[in-house]
């Protein structure tokens, strides 16, 4: 598999970056299946993972169509090298405990919800408007569900409050990357296809501030934002995810389900 050629259109790259965010987070959340602290949450987490994987499928299928080079959604999802994945770092962070996973989901969903709302209302691209029409509503469920948990954990016992505070400390400095977007996303924003990432910061901050206030948590200042995913510079954990995700296709090339 060759590298992503520079001649790819910004639309292809931006849709692929979104697809990567959703696949990697969907995979992460799916790791909870069978391990959640209670049955309802096992169902909830598996359902949220399914939403993300479904959204990633639609995005990969569309990027394959834009590329028009004969690669399928599966080729894009399973047969690239680590440096070719351009997801943000937040989504590849390990699950940690339940508080970590729920907070990571809230951070991501609180960004994607207004993002898809913007696409659904204003995008010049029909296919993306179609994907966004459902994704914005699905993300609203994630924001609500995870937001309720963050409040409950923060305003719960010393143990639960300590865990959610540790999660905030571990994850908050990965959130800035959401608003930095990428060159491809900026080009798409200029074309009226995607919202400008930075423009979503007030909506995201309002959600997080509101949830944190109810959960008796402080929103920390980020002195050193962690970034690099959009140019393929990942954390150590990314390779481990791909080892699991790509195992079947690497061991049995072209295996069909």
């Amino acid at each position: 598999m060759t590298g992503l050629a520079l001649s790819h259109s910004p639309l292809f790259e931006a849709v692929l970056q979104l697809a990567d965010d959703h696949l990697i987070l969907g995979h992460r959340v799916s790791e909870w299946c069978g391990h959640a602290p209670m049955l309802e949450e096992d169902l909830g987490l598996a359902n949220m993972a399914l939403d993300l994987l479904g959204q990633s499928r639609a995005l990969y299928a569309y990027s394959a169509e834009i590329e028009g080079a004969g690669r399928s959604e599966d080729d894009l999802a399973f047969l690239r090298l680590e440096r070719q994945y351009q997801n943000c770092l937040l989504v590849e962070r390990p699950n940690g405990d339940f508080a970590h996973s729920i907070l990571r989901q809230l951070y991501f969903a609180a960004f994607m919800h207004p993002f898809w709302q913007g696409v659904s209302a204003n995008s010049a691209d029909d296919t993306l408007r179609g994907i966004a029409g459902k994704a914005e509503k699905e993300m609203a469920y994630h924001v609500r569900h995870c937001g309720e948990w963050v409040v409950r954990l923060g305003d719960g016992t010393d143990e639960s409050a300590g865990r959610i505070k540790a999660a905030v400390e571990a994850l908050h400095h990965y959130t800035d990357e959401l608003f930095q977007g990428s060159a491809a996303m900026a080009a798409c924003a200029k074309d009226g296809v995607l919202p400008e990432a930075e423009s979503l910061r007030p909506a995201w901050t309002a959600t997080i501030t509101d949830v944190f206030a109810q959960g008796l948590l402080e929103v920390p200042e980020v002195a050193y934002p962690q970034t690099g995913g959009r140019i393929g510079e990942h954390t150590e954990e990314m390779g481990h995810i791909l080892a699991e995700l790509q195992y079947m296709q690497r061991t049995y090339p072209n295996l069909q389900w």
Partner: protein, 167 residues
Amino acid sequence: MPSTATTDNLDTARAWAAAAAVPDPEVPCVTVADLGILRDVAIEDGVAVAYVTPTYSGCPAVLAIEMAVEAALLDAGFEARIERVMSPAWTTDWITPEGCEKLRAYGIAPPVRGSSSKMALFGETAINCPRCGSADTQKVSEFGSTACKAHYTCKACAEPFDYFKCI
């Protein structure tokens, strides 16, 4: 001898009827037409083309539905093709009133209308128990046994039930 246009119309109606009768694989009490996911069936160059819209992004039944619709058209004697339509996005508002009634009779509370309203999305409207009709119900979990359902309990008759999520 009917004109070609009439034959086409008859064929289109017959193809629509064949495709529309396909049941949903996970909720077999309703058909693809009840759910509003069969957008159109047209005869194009002698091929019956069914335009189908996927439901929830994570619904694993999308492929099964497309295959079932294609098979139904083949069974009815048509050459068939499926076209997936992404935009405009499907919403639970497209489920027909008959479809909602079938869901209720099957024991699944149908989605609240007006999916784009915040009230409906955030479950602040009353969900009636499909068994006794009481509005005194309680959400157990936002997420249920499939991507399309949430889990509720009726406080009046104690029936646990699924609510078809509004999107």
